[in-house]
Amino acid sequence: MDFLVSIWEWLHEYVQYTIYSGVKALAILLPLFIVVAYYTLAERKVIGYMQIRKGPNRVGPKGLFQPFADMFKLMFKEIIIPTNSNRYLFIIAPVITFAPAMAAWAVIPFNDTLVFSNINAGLLYILAMTSVGVYGVIIAGWASNSKYALLGAMRSAAQIVAYEIAMGFALVGVLMVGGSLNLGDIVNKQAGGLEHWFFIPLLPLFFVYLISGVAETNRAPFDVAEGESEIVAGFHVEYSGMTFAVFFLAEYANMILIAMLCALLFFGGWLSPIPELVGDGTGWLFGKTAVFMLLFLWFRATFPRYRYDQIMRLGWKVLLPVTIFWLAVEGVAVYFKIGPWFD
């Protein structure tokens, strides 16, 4: 033990810091991967029961080892690179989607003190990171040298630009109440029980955020970028094996991120709804996140896919005016210091 301590002290300060941060990052990302794995199983099970069938139940007890079976299958499959595709960009595209999806988790606070990087501009950082992820989709579609993939990439680009604006405006509303870009500060501003949470003054913005979040992650009913019935699998039609798995992983990590942001920004994060009875804790955050994660699956099981022009109309002509109107209302509320929120 002394030997290890002496090695640690011998290391340079920067090396120590790098190792320390690396371990912290792994402590966030490894559980995230496990949650993603079981989220895929939950998706198949939940949708299965909603459609009155059982879902996967063969691998392990009640199908609990299904995610690992899927993972090994994907790992050992051949990666096929289409002829005349752009080989380098084809391989790098999943990485470009994956890296920002992971990097965004750096500023997520799990309670008052448990946060990887407590930066001032946390919310802005998350917006920036999630907006970079679209490049993976666009590059994948272009580099595949396939008409279906290109169509998927085009749809995805237009859709994400449209919904990012509504999403950004909805978050401006959160900033106006929270008075800070730091996620920890935003949650602490909601302290004092259920009636202090931001979803009450920001109900329209919450719905806009949730809908845009579903659209941003390319999930049903906004999954026209994949659209199995029209363009087979959209941007990742040419991907197989591990390259496909990385896209998959990024999509599910993004869904969990959006669910957690909903809980943090609008539903008080780790704060208890009735602080007199039950204490605050990270469990509350995970519980609230799980509810929103379930919503993503529920949407997929119940709604038919939107038509493409309807998606554009909803984004530009419905969600955007709603957010701008509500920001004006909020401005008035801030001026007159209405309720327990705007003091």
């Binding site: 001032n120 501009a121 802005l124 490049y135 666009i138 990439a153 680009a157 994400i160 630009v161």
Partner: protein, 200 residues
């Protein structure tokens, strides 16, 4: 020490990708190089403790503007061979523009505004210093008129762009979602009562 290493890594990446924007043959590759240039410049800004500007650069230029650029470039069917013609013909003009821009930049950088006082390095701000707050404070008090004017100019540009491209096209067929939603069952469906089996 580590800041210097980070700076040089990203500075080299910025210069290389910026050169690639104008030298690579494929327009999509050129656009992607431009994205990389923006991204690495954002990192350099970050090392200057300008975190708000750095993240805004990624959010606005990388996340929105360049997506639209790539969108357009991918849709265009550009003939690469024809683009490469006339390189020598336009070389003198390009060089002249480059020299003028270099001189302008030098004149700004060496002017009084940018010269540091002798021996004084800018002092790093403490960790709790909020760049965002400081920027907002200046932008909405001291420079509020300049800020508003910039906003109005952008609005004018938006209206101009829309009015230039919006023209009546008689050929186009489009759907009216509000009409579609107003449709009721009785408008489309007529239930007729027909006896299923009749004696002939």
């Amino acid at each position: 020490m580590i800041e210097t290493i980070i700076f040089y890594v990203f500075a080299v990446a910025t210069v290389v990708s910026a050169c690639a924007v104008v030298t690579v043959k494929n327009p999509v590759h050129a656009t992607l190089s431009l994205v990389l240039t923006f991204f690495t410049s954002a990192v350099i800004w970050m090392t200057l403790e300008a975190e708000f500007l750095a993240i805004s650069l990624v959010l606005v230029y990388v996340g929105a503007v360049m997506v639209l650029f790539i969108f357009v470039v991918m849709m265009l069917d550009i003939n690469v061979a024809r683009l490469r013609e006339g390189f020598v013909r336009y070389l003198p003009l390009g060089l002249a523009v480059a020299v003028i821009m270099l001189l302008l930049m030098l004149s700004v950088v060496t002017s009084d505004i940018f010269v540091l006082e002798a021996g004084s390095e800018p002092v790093a701000k403490p960790a709790d210093y909020s760049n965002t707050k400081a920027l907002g404070g200046v932008l909405y008090t001291e420079y509020v008129f300049a800020f508003e004017i910039a906003a109005v100019i952008l609005l004018v540009a938006i209206i101009a762009a829309i009015s230039l491209t919006m023209r009546k096209r008689t050929q186009t067929k489009y759907q009216s979602p509000s009409d579609q939603m107003k449709v009721r069952k009785s408008d489309r469906l007529r239930i007729v009562d027909m006896p299923s089996s009749e004696e002939q």
